[in-house]
Assembly symmetry: C2
Homo-oligomer: 220 residues x 2
């Protein structure tokens, strides 16, 4: 349903459009406005919940309502783009963290980052959930990317001997996600503490042969 040609032109990570699709590359102002809309929408959803008026979003992005609708013909498509963008940022941050600190610390930071990102997205959640459940390949794509980032962090930690080897990225993501979801209230402090606990667990059997079976991570 979503126009397939606007594929990956998120805000950062502009990869030169695949040369096979000979379509001209989008105009500079179009790209700029699209990015403005996505960041404004993210802020608006976070600050004022799922039912901000699209007019407000357009205004705060400094563009007309028509421009918003051309880029995002439905509210859902805007939500989807915002979510994709958030995931992109999260994945990028994983790489940055890995470059600037030891892997276990990077992993800890990233998990906390994840919690805060989810807390920020809470306003969108009621919109996002039906979207993810009715649109399996959108859900697969985003989940896949996040899992890849988690796996990368984990593997770096394992290679450095500071993180246990018997946990995979998908499980880690599910566990952190579950914690975020279970603490329904607004305060993300509880989540942060629980995730910290989880991280300590990840460090527990590090660098040893994974002989001792891990305590099963509880999922809500």
């Amino acid at each position: 349903m979503v126009a397939p040609d606007v594929a990956v032109a998120a805000s950062e990570a502009i990869e030169p459009a695949d040369p096979a699709s000979a379509d001209r590359r989008p105009r500079a102002d179009a790209v700029r406005n699209r990015d403005l809309l996505i960041t404004s929408a993210a802020a608006a959803f976070a600050a004022r919940g799922a039912d901000v008026s699209l007019e407000d979003i357009a205004r705060s992005a400094g563009v007309g309502i028509g421009t918003l609708y051309r880029h995002f013909p439905t509210r859902d498509s805007l939500v989807e783009a915002v979510y994709r963008h958030e995931i992109d940022v999260l994945c990028q941050r994983a790489d940055q963290l890995l470059e600037t600190m030891p892997p276990d610390q990077a992993l800890a930071e990233w998990m906390q980052l994840f919690v805060r990102h989810v807390a920020t997205k809470r306003g969108m959640l009621s919109l996002l959930k039906p979207l993810l459940s009715t649109n399996p390949n959108f859900s697969d794509q985003t989940r896949g990317r996040a899992t890849a980032a988690a796996t990368k962090l984990l593997e770096a930690g394992v290679a450095a001997g500071t993180v246990r080897a018997d946990v995979d990225g998908g499980d880690l993501l599910r566990a952190v996600g579950g914690i975020c979801m279970s603490t329904d209230q607004e305060r993300s402090e509880a989540s942060e503490r629980l995730v910290g606990l989880l991280f300590d667990g990840l460090r527990h059997g590090a660098a040893g042969p994974a002989a001792t079976p891990p305590p099963a991570a509880a999922s809500a």
Copy 2:
């Protein structure tokens, strides 16, 4: 926030208003219209999802929009009333079933009834969930009533020796509820089959001393 004076005047089960509150009893047409609105709203939510226009609901109840707003000043208060009503009906049906058939059969019927009621309410779910989580005493009241009905059915079965004794109403409700939630898709057939399975489990250790530990019911 909801006007406290409209307390329990659901549709059936009109208990004579508590004599201490000397306020006059509501006019007959008010009661009638309130009931009409609740039944029309239930039908509308089931048929057309959470975002039916309130104007449509008023129209299909045969009353003016002003009347709807007087009885239910917010959309939430209407949803709440509909849900309360559904729970009432379910509890009543428990008693009826107990009077007309053996307890184990009554329990089986009631569980299926529950599944179908949830399926019908699916349209309201996105409205109901935030309501239940932000309004703890509403949630407690309804859950309490439903649990009482489930417990009554269970106990009757236990007394007759056809239902095992080591399950309580709250757990049963959670299990059935969990099954309904986990099968996110529209078809309630899957839920009905799973609930049937659950019921067979309930019958398993009946009339014997509950020596064999039950297999834990899986909850999604």
